[in-house]
């Protein structure tokens, strides 16, 4: 999932302090799972904003709504008849949802309520870690399903650098060396000979180096 973290309330207040009405818009997908922008977080933020403005002596209409997804046009249509009641939107969706909301409603200012962090997984409750950088040409088949593009600080594709010590990366003792994980995993799978196979130069044009990307499926297009 896409992992996001809540923005400090002070930053959000700074964005909306001059408004007379604002819609706090959540998303039922990834940001709900990582507890940054679901219905509950929408309620908490809207309540906090209402109280802030009330004690400032300001009459600000703070609305709440949570869409199934903010990254699909059909769900964004749900607010078309109501959005004009608000001067602006604070979106608690990931960066994709925030931008897509802004694209669908060009005349409406949309402010981010979260910091979108990465594509990751929950290690335990309250702890998420990055697992994919969306490089566009997956090499997990040859690395025992451990991604060196994401988990190696240097994105090395042919074994560890000299900074790998006792299974940890030199950048932090809390960061596993991706190549140690890969070797351990290949050993478990009985495929250690894969480690001897050189990975050819990777085509980075499918990564961000090629600019903003698109996936086009002609078989699905209408």
């Amino acid at each position: 999932m896409i992992v996001a973290a809540k923005k400090p309330i002070e930053e959000i207040i700074e964005q909306v302090k001059g408004l007379r009405s604002v819609l706090v818009l959540g998303c039922n997908e990834c940001v709900t799972v990582c507890e940054a922008g679901g219905k509950k977080e929408v309620g908490v933020l809207a309540s906090a904003l209402r109280m802030y403005f009330l004690q400032q002596g300001r009459e600000v209409n703070v609305g709440e709504h949570t869409l199934e997804r903010q990254c699909d046009t059909e769900y964004l249509e749900e607010i078309r008849n109501n959005i004009d009641a608000y001067e602006a939107v604070v979106s608690l969706a990931c960066g994709v949802g925030i931008q897509f909301t802004a694209e669908r409603y060009p005349s409406k200012p949309v402010y981010p309520g979260v910091n979108t962090c990465f594509m990751g997984a929950a290690l335990e409750r309250g702890v998420w870690a990055e697992r994919c950088q969306g490089c566009g040409s997956c090499i997990l088949a040859s690395t025992g399903a451990v991604c060196p593009v994401t988990r190696c600080a240097k994105r090395l594709l042919n074994g560890p650098c000299g900074g790998s010590t006792a299974g940890k990366c030199e950048i932090s003792k809390d960061v596993d060396c991706a190549w140690q994980l890969i070797v351990d995993r290949l050993k478990t799978l009985g495929r250690l000979e894969d480690y001897e196979t050189l990975c050819p130069v990777k085509d980075w044009s499918t990564d961000r180096a090629g600019g903003p990307r698109k996936v086009i499926r002609e078989d699905l297009r209408s």
Partner: protein, 134 residues
């Protein structure tokens, strides 16, 4: 025992303090409460293992948020006692009552009194309208 505690306190019963969310605490303040304290079982005695610890973390979150929006985090507290410890219940109630008197009225309540028009929900169809006193 027939013990007395301050009459200003309204009790909201929940199955376990683990049920109490930050949102529940904030809603109390939005509706004008001067203080909220969550009374759970003693630490380590939760029938559901960790309900009171979860409540403790949520109370801390609410305190931080209320501090940052200027309401005052000291208006929220977590207390732990045994269900048979009535004298301690009374002591917590009296302490909270005194703390709230010291902190003064919830600033939101004063604002609500003069600006009740804010409570109107913005538009039909959106799940807004959870405004104060609505």
């Amino acid at each position: 025992m027939r013990l007395n505690y301050p009459s200003s306190i309204r009790i909201i019963r929940v199955p376990c303090t683990g049920k109490v969310d930050v949102l529940h605490i904030l809603r109390c303040f939005e509706r004008g409460a001067d203080g909220v304290y969550v009374v759970g079982c003693r630490e380590g005695d939760c029938h559901y293992q960790s309900g009171n610890f979860r409540a403790k973390k949520r109370v801390e979150q609410a305190q931080q948020l209320l501090d940052r929006i200027g309401i005052g985090g000291s208006r929220v507290r977590m207390c732990n006692l045994s269900s048979s410890d009535a004298p301690l219940f009374v002591r917590f109630a009296e302490e909270m009552h005194a703390a709230v008197l010291g902190a003064g009225p919830n600033p939101v309540r004063a604002a609500l009194a003069s600006k009740r028009t804010i409570t109107d929900p913005p538009a039909a169809g959106l799940n807004a309208g959870t405004g104060p006193l609505s």
